[in-house]
Symmetry: C2
Subunit: 251 residues, 2 copies
């Protein structure tokens, strides 16, 4: 399998990023009206559909919302306590906390069957296993275990993952852009070893998030299990599409 390096960035993505930056810089505030599709198209000398795609991207990311007949507007900023889908470092910094990590495990393994199925690996394909304790202002707040197909990120096992963002590394070194995520979350009491890790009491509520992360074309990239102290975090679930009710319910 070849590594893909997308040097080509679609126009609509560039436009979306431009607007994102204007929002991040404070030039555009929540509630402000964004340029209309037609204005945007003319300003960038592109077709209206392309401008529309740019705005659509912002809507999917939760940074904007549309109102028919009125326009497209900057969305309220979300207090992303823990999104689980963004990088831990990013999450912490956005709250003014100083993030750090302690690498507990970083090695190449032969994953077992269940894991291979999830990551769509062949019988003898190796994987990289990374476990990190996450700290905010030097207090342990989360434990994260990540498994990735080795063929997607050869050499990852030799990186210093205490200071780097995994997502940034995937993007910059391996050209892998994560686009989709899917999680399951459960609440349960802390087991003894978990309690020890968090300097915490046994039985206190923990939040356990299991996440699969995919590329744009839905290739599995990452299987992650994160454990958070229940008393320190709220898990923020970003904007989601609601599926229509099934036919069964129409009666």
């Amino acid at each position: 399998m070849m590594l893909k390096r997308h040097s080509f960035v679609p126009l609509y993505v560039q436009m979306a990023e431009g607007i994102s930056q204007r929002i991040a810089s404070g030039e555009l505030s929540p509630g402000d009206q964004l340029p209309s599709e037609r204005e945007l198209a003319e300003a960038h000398n592109v077709s209206r559909l392309t401008a529309r795609q740019a705005l659509e991207e912002l809507v999917l990311q939760g940074r904007a919302y549309r109102v028919r007949g009125r326009g497209t507007f900057v969305a309220e900023p979300k207090i992303r306590e823990v999104s689980g889908l963004r990088s831990f470092s990013d999450d912490m910094r956005s709250q003014g906390l100083v993030p750090s990590s302690r690498v507990l495990r970083l090695e190449v393994i032969q994953p077992e069957e269940a894991l291979r199925a999830r990551l769509k690996l062949g019988a003898h394909d190796p994987a990289v296993w990374l476990e990190r304790l996450r700290l905010a202002n030097n207090l342990p707040v989360a434990f994260e275990s990540v498994v990735l197909p080795h063929k997607l990120c050869p050499g990852l096992e030799n990186e210093d993952m205490a200071t780097q963002s995994l997502y940034a590394l995937l993007r910059d070194k391996y050209g892998i852009y994560l686009a989709w995520g899917e999680s399951e979350i459960e609440a349960r009491g802390a087991l003894p070893h978990e309690a020890a890790l968090f300097e915490f009491d046994v039985g206190q509520p923990l939040m356990v998030a299991t996440r699969m992360t995919f590329t744009e074309s839905f290739e599995p990239v990452e299987f992650a299990k994160s454990i958070y102290r229940g008393d320190r975090f709220t898990f923020y679930v970003g904007r989601q599409r609601i599926p229509p009710l099934t036919t069964d319910e129409r009666r």
Copy 2:
């Protein structure tokens, strides 16, 4: 504000629903290739972009995935333990459990400021408050508190909500189609009154999900707080778009 009743259903939504049904019926299995955009366009006598939108809808709903150069495929079915975004009844039935509800509160209230802001209500706009205990096979498993703007659903306070699905009622009686959701989830120990409700021990882990639900054009429809027994549920978070890393992290 007028109630809007969309009798018009876009072509691409109809096409997406058609395919959804073929998946639900078992005619199409996970991994099967869906008709290509061009085939679909020709078969329904629409432009390729319209066919593309239909497939896009399925992708957003998590029912399909695309692979560039190969095609669009039926996604693996998800074990939706608790999605929080689908109706409780639907969730339970899909696991072979018999759902039921006990209405604990159903009344028109004057919401306080914080709630008014979330639901974009004026100072004197009333709201409907619905609290239900949810049971699976007659065992209490979740507690759900929902607030909706009264003007969106006048008369809801007189409905029998013990047997009806709220989402189905909104759709069928009020013409409101929910399209987007946003949640926050936390884990915490059960308080005494919660423990009593669930026939449970104080301090045992609970999952508390706070959800806002919106229409397609992002009008707030529902503010909901759901409490689940941590030992009985996993909260399933459907497919989500991952925002690109912020510029700060590029360094």
